[in-house]
């Protein structure tokens, strides 16, 4: 809401400045609208701000209502770019084509979700099966997975966060986590709890990793930016921009900017997500 207000304010300022300098002709400023996933939102925001700094006559409006909403807006023709944290569904493609739209995907960044423990915990590596057993509550002591004789405090994100959804799909393969799992409201809360609790295991987006936490390898693959980008690290997902048909004009320029290794992708890294290169 606040952002929206600022956007309106910026538009007004822009319009006023344009009127003063170029006269009424400049009112026809280029507009790009982006809609969709809140996970991708920080990336779109930082890209849009940098892009508008470089091309002040372009106005980019962003809203985040979830991946499904974004793709629906693309199908209805009400947005130029749909941002999505998941692949487009069969039914959505069919809807789009029936409406005369043809969604084109662009991978814009990767998101790796990494398991973390307290730095004093001797466990460095878990297999995906061990991780699943821990989250299902079947393994309840660290000594069963090569650690100290301590009970395991299983920490998870709240059940409606995108991070939880991906974690459940990839790490738990759709199984339910144990009801004893502590559901915390944010990446920050998980960092706080695990850095103060030697028994705990949790998971966070790779951008939230600090030195107060230890990242655990999965099946021997270290949770690094490089392994996430190459697809070797198992719990990662691609974040997408969908456009209607091959983009043209300003939208194409913006997408090229977003994918540029020296421009957009550098900003992606600043947001804590994994750049494509």
């Amino acid at each position: 809401m606040k952002n929206h207000g600022r956007r309106i304010f910026q538009t007004l300022c822009l319009a006023a400045a344009a009127l003063l300098v170029f006269g009424a002709s400049a009112l026809a400023a280029e507009r790009i609208s982006i809609n969709g996933s809140t996970t991708v939102l920080p990336i779109s925001q930082i890209l849009a701000e940098a892009y508008m700094d470089e091309y002040p006559d372009v106005n980019i409006s962003i809203s985040g209502g979830g991946s499904g909403n974004g793709i629906r807006a693309l199908v209805d023709g009400t947005t130029d770019i749909a941002q999505s944290s998941r692949w487009i569904r069969q039914s959505e493609v069919e809807n789009a084509i029936n409406n005369g739209h043809y969604p084109v995907p662009f991978a814009v960044a990767l998101d790796a979700i990494i398991p973390v423990v307290h730095p004093d915990n001797p466990v460095d590596n878990l297999s995906l099966d061990q991780l699943k057993a821990i989250y299902e509550g079947k393994v309840r002591n660290w000594k069963d997975v090569g650690g100290e004789d301590r009970s395991i405090a299983v920490i998870s994100r709240d059940s409606d966060s995108g991070t939880y959804a991906v974690w459940n799909e990839v790490a738990l393969k759709g199984a339910r986590p144990t009801p004893r799992a502590q559901l915390l409201a944010s990446n920050g809360a998980i960092v706080q709890e695990i850095s103060g609790n030697r028994n705990a295991i949790g998971y966070i987006g790779i951008g939230y990793l600090t030195e107060n936490l230890k990242a655990v390898s999965l099946d021997g693959v270290a949770p690094s930016y490089a392994n996430a980008a190459s697809g070797d690290f198992p719990v990662s997902r691609t974040l997408w921009f969908f456009t209607d048909d091959w983009p043209k004009g300003e939208t194409l320029k913006f997408i090229r900017y977003a994918l540029h290794p020296e421009k957009g992708q550098k900003l992606v890294k600043e947001t804590g997500y994994v750049p494509l290169y």
Partner: protein
């Protein structure tokens, strides 16, 4: 002149009627909204399974909407924090009103009232960053974010309310009652226990209701320190997920008018029923033990 004055009176009358009624009207509308958004869940989940189901997996397929662990979470937190807060609150009130030197009282009472204004997010943060690691290390617990931590933090919030309002009630007991008791040969303690406390019971009940109802509805503290596991606690060091914390944590990303969304409103309804019954009991107790005559506050 007379009609003009009467018209003015009538206008003032209507004005205050509207002002007085607006609060009630708004609250009724909110209650109606709560009922309208909450009831649809019972089309998909029978009310018995909703209230007594022990599994809360709202976003899985198929989902489970059993809120017994959440009710147990709220109830356990409220009971434990009351056990801590009521004796501490009333004890401080008796000390301040009856035993403390007036100079001590002049300093301590405003301080307690100042603590009352502490933002709950600060208390929650304190519980999370200081108390949780301390509890976990000292008692060798699995986690420091648990029922006990949340109860202590809620008690910390409720004590100033209970102490400050009870103190007003005790202090307000007329001096002649106290003097009468002393004159009949009762000791100071006998006077406090047999005369002053019964005389100020209505005020103390009000204090306890206000203090504890803050704890029932409190969201931020339990969201931060209760641990968030939807289980029925077997020990005071188990993590719990009270109803307000659950609503706050899950409302943000719930699809509009989905089953999960309706379920959260239904939890709100249960929470409302909870506070309503609690207030009724408290009001009844206060009525039953009401003192008449000079000591009626």
């Amino acid at each position: 002149m007379g009609t003009k004055r009467r018209a003015k009176e009538l206008l003032i009358h209507i004005f205050f009627l509207v002002v007085g009624a607006s609060g009630i009207i708004v609250l009724t509308l909110i209650l109606l909204f709560l009922i309208m958004e909450g009831l649809p869940i019972f089309d998909t989940v029978p009310i018995r399974d909703f209230l007594f189901g022990t599994m809360w997996y709202p976003t899985h397929y198929p989902p489970d909407f059993g809120i017994l662990p959440l009710i147990a979470g709220s109830a356990s937190v409220v009971v434990l924090s009351s056990l801590i807060a009521i004796p501490l609150g009333i004890g401080s009130a008796i000390y301040l009103a009856e035993i403390a030197h007036p100079k001590v009282r002049a300093v301590v009472k405003p301080t307690i009232e100042l603590i009352e204004g502490l933002p709950t997010v600060v208390i929650g943060f304190f519980g999370m960053v200081v108390v949780a690691p301390f509890l976990q290390e000292t008692f060798g617990l699995t986690t420091g974010l648990n029922l006990f931590n949340a109860s202590v933090m809620l008690a910390f919030m409720a004590v100033p309310t209970i102490a400050s309002i009870s103190e007003d009630a005790i202090y307000g007991v007329p001096a002649h009652m106290k003097e009468g008791s002393m004159a009949l040969g009762a000791t100071h303690w006998e006077t406090i226990a047999r005369v002053i406390l019964p005389a100020s019971l209505t005020g103390i009940s009000t204090a306890v209701i206000l203090g504890i109802s803050r704890a029932i509805g409190e969201t931020m503290v339990v969201l931060m320190v209760a641990g968030g596991a939807a289980i029925i606690p077997a020990s005071i060091f188990d993590p719990v997920r009270p109803m307000p914390a659950n609503i706050a944590a899950e409302m943000g990303n719930t699809p509009f008018r989905s089953d999960h969304y309706h379920a959260l409103f239904a939890i709100g309804l249960v929470l409302f029923a909870f506070t309503f019954v609690f207030n009724m009991i408290a009001a009844h107790l206060a009525q039953k033990h009401k003192q008449v005559g000079a000591a009626s506050l």
